[in-house]
């Protein structure tokens, strides 16, 4: 079965600092990969997704993620964090073609931004 690991429960950064949120997945083939953000009281909003092609994916709000097959990782990055980025971030994996299309989510990483 596919699984997703987000090893960091909380991450604290200063405003303006760079950010990297880790995500590792367990699945034999190349899955489809997603990052979602959840602000307090809001639903999940898609930041970016990877299906195939260029392994560096650009998303909304200045986020990007890089798929590394050798490390089974799909880490989310942002060069300069804004206070409004404080939220919960979820990585998700879908098996893709031929498999279940239902996403498996990680436990989430809570981002705290200090002024």
């Amino acid at each position: 079965a596919q699984s997703v690991t987000q090893p960091d429960i909380h991450i604290t950064v200063s405003e303006g600092a760079s950010l990297e949120l880790r995500c590792n997945y367990s699945y034999g083939a190349t899955p489809y990969l997603f990052w979602y953000v959840q602000s307090p009281g809001q639903g999940l909003q898609l930041l970016l997704k990877y299906f195939s092609g260029d392994t560096l994916v650009q998303g909304i709000k200045g986020f990007e993620a890089e798929f590394k097959r050798s490390q089974s990782s799909f880490n989310l990055r942002k060069p300069s964090v804004h206070w409004s980025d404080a939220a919960e971030y979820f990585c998700a994996v879908v098996r893709g073609a031929g498999g279940s299309y239902i996403p498996t989510f990680g436990r989430g990483t809570s981002l705290i931004v200090h002024p």
Partner: protein
């Protein structure tokens, strides 16, 4: 921008009571989903719905749960006899196309508290 809406935002009920959680998906979307998130845990898939029938469901979605699209706009999740462990945030989502390649748009969630 069109969005998924959910009502109520918070539902408190007594154990054993029936609850109905309501969702209005984005109007031109064809695929609908329910997820839940127990406090502090990961988002879990419950069920997907397409063409007026369940297309996939998880182990969580047992006989106590049912879904319905009673009209052209609403999508509901019913829990027949609530248990304490049903307390969670319930998210509705929808997508225009099949979910393995298309983005799922999430609603803000309904927080269900079972006393």
């Amino acid at each position: 921008e069109p969005e998924v809406t959910q009502t109520p935002s918070h539902q408190v009920t007594q154990m054993g009571q029936e609850v109905i959680l309501r969702c209005v998906p984005i109007s031109n979307h064809l695929y609908f989903y329910w997820y839940r998130q127990i406090l502090g845990q990961k988002v879990e898939f419950l069920v997907s719905f397409y063409n007026n029938e369940i297309s996939e469901k998880s182990e969580i979605f047992d006989d106590q749960f049912s879904v319905e699209r009673p009209d052209g706009s609403n999508f509901t999740l019913k829990i027949r006899s609530t248990k304490l462990e049903d307390s969670a945030m319930y998210f509705c989502a929808s997508s225009e196309l099949q979910p393995d390649t298309d983005t799922q748009y999430f609603g803000p969630g309904t927080r269900l508290t079972v006393l």
